[in-house]
Every structure is written in structure tokens, then in C-alpha cells.
Symmetry: C2
Subunit: 241 residues, 2 copies
DNA sequence: CAGTGGTCTAGACCACTAT
DNA sequence: TAGTGGTCTAGACCACTGT
């Protein structure tokens, strides 16, 4: 699957930490030892350790070694661009996705602005509206806009499964980065109609601009959550100053 | 200040991007050229570019080069562990911090759990309560808990300025990483008393567990925001699968 | 094809931590 | 002092992009 040596080492060690083969609080073998174990150079080992550190698996300490962190304290960070399907599978939620509507619409001014397109641009986007049920309650309203120029064929069936899977595996597009913005807003009529909002007077809105490897923006997602069920967890490292 | 070559290169290029010396959509010089410009090796150049890429300055494209991204689209991500003072300075907000209370309290069960301490542990923590005014309105309630064993002396004066500055510069402690959690809750009486909540029936709560380089947890922060003023922006890259 | 970035190597020297 | 991670080097080969 992945052929890079440093990715292999990363995955191997990550697995050992998840297994409990190496426990929180213990030190990894030194970079020198890992170099021998994996028959590789030190820089390659260090690339793997850098990844582990960024993902919150380990903490590197100069002069001492790399200690394994207790990731159970961090319970599943949702950061780092993961799709709803990937997250909910990890959590083992009883979730269901219903496609409310899927249609091709003309780019209007507001969409052009969101896609940073020129006002003179024209074309169409897919507008996809989905509701996520968790434990039999309609909790999340997902509104997606995708440029039809990049995703020509989209069906309700694909939308019920994972968009990302289809885009990455079938279309071969490489999703690279995103800007996410979390705000709190007053529910729209659509929110009230489609979600089980109970008495809540606000919804949490996660707006994402998603970009491909070639820096073209191809997706805009607005994820509207019932506030009591919303939870965002992030693991962040402080940059050296 | 920073002596590492790759950090210097990173800062230099970052500055040129912020200046507009290199504009969004343009390509950086190739790694080969940068190596010559900075009289260094290619791996060192690559370390700098890796950082730029992680921070959202550039996008690397194999076979083509490194293109400068339009960061104005991302307007100031707040992720990556930056203190309130650092953020509000960047934004140029008219903000004011008021210390409501600062006292030393015994660790109770709930705090021990938050600090992942054994139930048999004992000791004290600083409990610091501050209100942040933005444009003359009380918008954010910050509740901090710091282990007194690590931060023996804390004064109201320090608390009004930046805690992090004091901790890093004065105490020489190295803040390394944090877990952040964003949820939405019903306001407490304290929230209602101290904040200008208007008619809002919910507050956004950002809870952070902050760790030092040696992996000891030393701070717990609960930042409670009036929902209409809350905004969290994040730039995330998708990990290769 | 030439030019670009991606991976990997073997080795050097430095800074920090322990004993 | 020995062992650890942090930085830097010079070079090799590969994969991808454009012409």
C-alpha cells in the first residue's frame, strides 16, 4: 500500500502504541536502535518520529529519548481533515445519512465569493443536502457545494456513502488541505425543518473550504450541528518562538 | 534570536510572503536555487519549506515547484496553541483583561481527574478567573487552574498581562502541546453574573489541557465565550493515506 | 528531455541528560 | 563520560511535470 520507508516505520510504531505493545510513559528505542531495527538511516527514522510527534503519539526529549504519550487522554482528535464517515466509523456510532436533495445549480454571487471566483465567472455546482442521524435523532445538517467541472457525476447513492472516498478513490483527486471555521448561528428555517432541534435557539456551524493538491478549491461544506451534540477536539503543538 | 538555519530561512520567506514581495499564485525559487541563495544544503531548505507548508504559506507540487497560497483567504488561523494576548495583539482589538479572583485552592476530586492525578494525590492549584472585554463588552470568561508546585508565585499583575509570557520567559518553562475541546453549554450563574450575555441561552466552552516539554500537565483552562462573538479558524492538511 | 520536488543514505558536529 | 536527540551536509536515485 504505502511504500515509503518512513511511513512504514510510522505505521508500525503507531500500531505498537495502539496495541499497548509499547505503553504510555515508556520510552521508544533510541533513534540509533531504531535505525538498526529497521535497517535504515537515522534521518529516515527521524521522519517517522516527527510524524508520530505531530500526531500526538510521542514526545521527543533531547538527551533523553522519545516517550509515549497517553493518547486516551486526547480521545480522538477530529482535527486534520477527516471525513464524517471516517470519524463516525472510529466511534462506532449508530449513524445514518439521508440525502435530502442533490441538484445542479448555477453559481450565484455568494457562491462565487465563497469559491474565490471572479464575479464574471460562470458554471454550475452540485448542491448536496444531507442529514446525519445519530441514535435516531437528526443532529447534523450537511450542505455541500462541489464544482461540477471537477466532479461531473454525482449520485444520491454516492452521497449516502462517503463523498471523500468517491472523490479520492474513484475520481483520483487528491484532497490536500482545508480551512475550517467554527461559529455559532441562529437556526434557519431549513435547520428547524430538517433537524430535531428541540428548544435550542442556536446551531454550531462548521464551514470548510476544501482544496486539492493543485490548490484549486473544489468543495465548500457547511455542517450545522445541534449544539448539545457538538464536540470538537484538537491536538496542537506550540511552535518554537 | 533563533539561530537555526532552517528557521531563519522559514522566517525570511514567510516575511517575504507577508510583505507581498512574493505574491500568492507565484512560485518560490526552486529548492536548488534556494540552496544556493542561502548557501546551504537542500535538506535544510526542505525543512524550511516543510514548515511553510504546514503553516499554510505554500503548497508544494512535485515536478512543478512551491506555489504561494493566498493566506488572506484563511484569515488568521487561531489553531496551534497561541495565547489570547498573542491573538488579540494580531487583531488589534480594543481588549481589556480584568482579574476577578486569584486564589490558591486544594485539589478536589474533579480537578485531580482533569489533571490525571491519582485520587490519593494532594496539593494546591492557583485558581485564576479573568474576564476579557472586547469593545467594552464582557465577552469571555477565562478560568485557569495551574499547579502551584510549578508556578509558585502568581500575582494579579502578571495575570492581567500574559500568563504564557511569564511562564515561558520568567519561569523558563517550555509549553509544548495541548488538547483543546470545544463544546456548547448552558451558562452557569457565574457566566451570567460576569459576562454581558444579553439573551443568549448558551456559551461556547473551550477547555484546554496544557502540557510542558517533559509531558507534565500544568495548566487547565476553561474559556467561556458569548456565542455570537466566538470564532475558531483552523488550517488543516490531510494526511496521506 | 531538463527541471522540479520526494526519498534515502552515511556521516559529521552540536546540545542536552544522565551517571 | 556515554548516550540521547537536533542540525546540517553532499550526494544519490526516483517520480512527476513540462516542452
Amino acid at each position: 500500500m504505502v511504500k515509503n520507508k518512513f511511513q512504514m516505520i510510522y505505521e508500525q510504531i503507531a500500531k505498537e502504541i495502539q496495541n499497548g505493545t509499547i505503553k504510555a510513559g515508556e520510552f521508544l528505542p533510541s533513534e540509533h536502535e531504531l535505525r538498526q531495527q529497521y535497517h535504515t538511516s537515522r534521518e529516515t527514522v527521524r521522519k517517522a518520529l516527527k510524524l508520530l510527534s505531530e500526531q500526538g503519539y510521542i514526545q521527543k526529549m533531547q538527551g533523553k529519548g522519545s516517550i509515549v504519550l497517553d493518547m486516551s487522554k486526547f480521545n480522538f482528535p477530529i482535527s486534520g481533515l477527516v471525513s464524517y464517515k471516517e470519524v463516525s466509523e472510529k466511534l462506532g456510532h449508530r449513524s445514518k445519512t439521508t440525502v435530502i436533495s442533490l441538484r445542479e445549480i448555477e453559481l450565484d454571487s455568494s457562491l462565487k465569493a465563497e469559491f474565490y471566483l471572479d464575479e464574471s465567472a460562470n458554471g454550475t455546482v452540485w448542491e448536496l443536502v444531507r442529514v446525519r442521524d445519530i441514535d435516531e435523532e437528526a443532529i447534523i445538517l450537511d450542505k455541500d457545494y462541489l464544482l461540477t467541472s471537477m466532479v461531473p457525476d454525482l449520485t444520491e447513492e454516492i452521497s449516502e456513502n462517503s463523498l471523500y472516498e468517491y472523490i479520492e478513490s474513484e475520481l483520483g483527486l487528491a484532497i490536500s488541505f482545508a480551512k475550517k471555521e467554527i461559529t455559532v448561528e441562529i437556526p434557519t428555517k431549513e435547520d428547524r425543518t430538517l433537524l430535531d432541534l428541540e428548544d435550542y435557539s442556536l446551531v454550531v456551524v462548521v464551514k470548510s473550504h476544501v482544496y486539492l493538491e493543485d490548490t484549486t478549491q473544489f468543495q465548500l461544506t457547511e455542517s450545522r450541528h445541534r449544539p448539545d451534540k457538538f464536540r470538537f477536539v484538537d491536538f496542537a503543538r506550540r511552535r518554537q518562538r
